[in-house]
């Protein structure tokens, strides 16, 4: 008998326990849905010139609500199709990890949209978009502890870019003239689509996701 069989057994147990605790629903359809929705919202914002703070906030908060509801339905459909429990412990852990940063982001946004209203300057939309990027990045990073395939890295990309733009505008002491819809479209549309496409192309090779 291999003298290391006990160690190997322990390693196998550890691997299986880790695999068991990880959220396994396919993320590609969810990411592609979120990306398409983000791109559509950005296009609508640009086409209809929804540039006032209230219009900007209402558009993107509604987009977020639709994105969350859609992701929920896609995940539930997958669970029903696979004859698996939808509200499983890994799903609960991911939801619990996502909830605090997303709630905080939603709260800050509602306060900004309702109280600040349209009185703030033109750069306020951009600031709001950067705050959303930060909170969303934190949410992805927190959920990434219970999810495979680089979700934490995606979270860091959101956080990193938001911090970089904030620092750049503070250090240079200049107005950063990025249209907030473009920024949102790039990060919540383009980045989700790119990540979804990556998952779509690689998930079949590695069904563990």
């Amino acid at each position: 008998m291999n003298p290391n069989w006990a160690e190997e057994n322990l390693q196998t147990i550890r691997t299986l326990m880790e695999r068991s605790a990880i959220y396994r629903r396919a993320l590609a359809p969810i990411m592609l849905f979120a990306g398409l929705l983000g791109a559509a919202a950005a296009a609508a914002g640009l086409a209809f010139h929804l540039d006032s703070i209230r219009a900007f906030g209402v558009l993107w908060l509604n987009t977020a609500v639709v994105a969350v509801a859609g992701a929920f339905l896609i995940a539930r459909r997958q669970a029903v199709k696979d004859r698996e429990n939808f509200w499983s412990p890994p799903t609960r852990r991911v939801a619990q990890a996502l909830l605090p940063p997303l709630t905080a982001g939603m709260c800050v946004s509602l306060v900004a949209v309702c109280i600040v209203g349209n009185d703030a300057g033109g750069g306020f939309n951009l600031l709001l978009a950067l705050v959303w990027l930060l909170f969303y990045g934190c949410a992805l990073h927190a959920a990434g502890f219970f999810m495979p395939r680089g979700i934490r890295w995606l979270g860091w990309i959101y956080i990193g870019f938001a911090c970089a733009i904030l620092c750049f505008s503070a250090v240079v002491q200049a107005d950063v003239t990025i249209n907030a819809h473009w920024l949102m479209g790039f990060f919540f549309g383009g980045l989700h689509l790119a990540y979804g496409a990556y998952l779509y192309l690689t998930e079949k090779k590695n069904p563990a996701a």
Binding site: P3, A6, E7, L16, R19, S20, V80, D82, R83
Partner: protein, 101 residues
């Protein structure tokens, strides 16, 4: 290696397939039959046999419910199963420590 430690290992859990099922259930609290089958790449028959053996020992409970009008079979560890699994791991750790120079 002292043989007494090896002899103490729970024979029901020590089998490869059943150990994998116990490990998965220990971390996830409950898993559906299909999740276990897919994660462990077992056939339906093989998994059913192992789960029945664990059920007979009182280590696993099986619940049959419906989700969206489709049958859903979920498995979870009992308190006795959790205790037996913890004891099995303790013994493995003792064996590892004993084997180290």
């Amino acid at each position: 290696m002292k043989p007494e430690l090896f002899i103490q290992l729970d024979r029901v859990i020590h089998e490869k397939g059943r150990l994998a099922i116990m490990s998965m259930l220990a971390a996830a609290l409950e898993l559906s039959f299909t999740e276990l089958r897919d994660a462990l790449a077992m056939t339906d028959g093989n998994l059913t046999t192992h789960i029945k053996a664990l059920q007979q020992e009182g280590y696993v409970t099986v619940a049959k419910t419906y989700q969206n009008r489709r049958p859903l079979t979920t498995c979870s560890l009992t308190a006795a199963g959790r205790k037996a699994f913890a004891e099995y791991i303790n013994l493995l750790e003792q064996i590892v420590r004993q084997n180290k120079p």
